[in-house]
């Protein structure tokens, strides 16, 4: 899907460059406290719709065809399906208790859901709307990522402090990699050479070699004037060329810009308060961040590495997903 996106987007970007200065994409933001999803038009950074969803929406993702958005509503123990054309909830997928984050496979047919309350990852057939099975993982599963070749699913467990490597064919755990405390998010480098896992309480990002399945490097963050306990990495976004990564640092109210080759932090960008997750516009011109405490979304100009805009959304914005309208 990402390849498909890529081709489509580059074509579109050309067209856009001629037609309009700003890119016209659509961003969906889950607001954990308001029980809503805010829809943002990125051509003029305006809120065009607020959709009512179930209780405690967090993980949010477009389907591969861009026609639907899945949103995990943890307190309703399910995943809701938003029809992008209608901009309303049209269906519900079954999941285990308290779903938080999830990952779709490359074809968009199978959904893997982290169920925090159950120490399981639930596998769902998207078309048939049925549960295919569960995988027992560590305590409080959260972060989910699928390798670029689709063979490995990574799940992080927050109290066990591991990244579990799950074979997507056999659905068995094949490796467990210990990382720092409260791992929350996993992100693969597009060439499959690295997987990054953020540890919120440990305050680091572990760089894991997916072949050796061991931590090869830990990225630490230092911000003058801030106690290290306030630096709590969660969301990670990496450019498709694998050169630059952006790491949301929670109550440090900053996004770290990391040079991927050297694993060095090159810059800290001040965003809103308690920054959770990040998403690129498909052309990668902009990176949007959800700022939980200040109830807004910051827009970062990726090339300039500058915050250019703040958009007010619902209460406690948490997750974000972006696609072409």
């Amino acid at each position: 899907m990402r390849m498909w996106h890529h081709c489509l987007i580059s074509g579109m970007a050309l067209w856009l460059a001629a037609a309009s200065p700003a890119s016209a994409f659509i961003a969906y933001v889950s607001n954990e406290k308001s029980n809503t999803v805010t829809v943002i038009d990125t051509s003029n950074w305006s809120v065009i719709k607020t959709i009512k969803v179930g209780q405690r929406p967090r993980g949010i993702e477009f389907t591969r065809d861009g026609k639907f958005v899945f949103v995990a509503v943890g307190d309703d123990d399910s995943i809701q399906v938003i029809d992008v054309a209608k901009q309303e909830v049209v269906d519900t997928l079954p999941s285990g208790p308290d779903p938080e984050l999830f990952a779709l496979d490359a074809e968009g047919k199978i959904l893997y859901v982290a169920n925090e309350n159950d120490n399981t990852v639930t596998i769902i057939d998207v078309e048939k709307r049925t549960r295919l099975g569960d995988i027992q993982v560590g305590v409080e599963p959260e972060g989910m990522a699928i390798s670029p070749d689709g063979k490995i699913l990574i799940n992080t467990s927050e109290t066990t402090n591991m990244a579990h490597f799950i074979d997507t064919t056999t659905r068995q755990i094949v490796a467990n990699v210990l990382v720092d405390a409260r791992p929350r998010y996993a992100e693969f480098k597009r060439d499959n050479s690295e997987v990054w896992v953020s540890s919120e309480i440990g305050g680091t990002v572990s760089v894991i070699d997916p072949v050796k399945r061991e931590v090869t490097k830990k990225i630490a963050f230092e911000i003058p004037g801030l106690r290290s306990e306030a630096i709590q990495p969660v969301g990670i976004g990496m450019t498709k060329d694998g050169k630059t990564a952006f790491v949301a640092l929670g109550p440090a109210n900053r996004v770290a810009v990391v040079d991927v080759a050297s694993h060095k932090v090159t810059k800290y960008l001040l965003v809103g308060q308690r920054v959770w997750h990040v998403a690129f516009t498909p052309d990668e011109k902009y990176l949007l961040t959800t700022n939980g405490v200040s109830n807004d979304v910051s827009v970062i100009d990726v090339a300039a590495q500058k915050v250019i805009k703040t958009i007010q959304v619902g209460e406690l914005p948490w997750g974000i997903t972006i696609a072409q309208p």
């Binding site: 305590v139 467990s157 109290t159 405390a181 306990e229 709590q232």
Partner: protein, 393 residues
Amino acid sequence: MIRWLVAAIGLSVAAAPVLAAAPIEIGIGYLGRAGVKPKLSLVELPAENDGVAGARLAVEDNNTTGKFLNQRFTLEEVRLKDNEDVGKAAATLAERAGFIITDLPADDLLKAADALRDRGTLLLNAGAIDDRLREQDCRANVIHVAPTRSMLADALAQYLVWKQWKRWLFVVGSHDRDKLYADALRRAATRFGAKIVQERTFEDTGGARRTDSGVTLIQRQIPTFTQQAPAYDVLVAADESEAFASYLPYRTWDPRPVAGSAGLVPTSWHAAQDQWGAIQIQNRFVKLNSRQMTALDMQAWTAARMIGEATSRTKSGDPKAISDFLKGPDFSVAAFKGRRLTLRDWNLQLRQPILLVDGRMVVSVSPQEGFLHQVSELDTLGADRPETKCKLR
């Protein structure tokens, strides 16, 4: 023939699952006194398994992690009867457990620590809040997971000062531990700029905490007891013995909020705490124990999780290796308090945020914004390094 045999062995080793080796066994003991502590409020009466229920949940959590690392944790509970020798009981338990979580009064804890001194057993104090255990009476084989009285008092004082409730009417119970808590609150008032406008003592004349005609009498007693006070913002009560403080809210002569041992109470944990992923542990705890999680449960959970954390980091079941890691610079643990918890290396006290609760909700969490510290804001709570009287031996 021999070559063939070797080849066959080689094959069988290769085919065996990775985790076929015998698991590393980590025995954890839980040592407490039998009997239930008295409370004024019926809804606050502790369950019989108060504390150990938290340790049990942590052992389950550790075992979920342990199954990926080939480590297995067990928990053994020992309850002391009235005249039972704590040193002997601790020594017997230490034969099977390299770590003992304790919910013991201060003197008992010191006896247990001294009895185990040459054994290499590590004690984790989950129950005693006495400052002296971390100061003049500190021991090198005891880690303190429970907060101290001074940490609790400082957490409350920071909030009251932030709220600009700086004039305190101070009411102290007549028992020794009430006086210890009063000392901590007085110190906190001086430290953070509050003023005790007047101090009164509430004499506990004994008698039952529950009577059929109780309320009528209390409704007359408390207003009289609190009248003719100088102007004050908040009544702060020190009543660890549970003799009177819970009678104060809504009954004071002047309409004023109550804090300390009733009203707004500082504590390490509460069943209403749901921030920072805490809802997950609250749910797990209720599922396992069919009741809500108390501060003592959380302190015992944290103690057992610290052992699990150190075991997974060191990949060792050796109590010495685990103790050294816990006391070393690389240790930290996540405990649903919004930041990592670490040990103060000068007295082995766990740094931790303190919740301020009103019985139904978490009102605030200290340290409060603006109380700064050069090392960790958590060290604005309790005795800090320059003030310590502890010499770890």
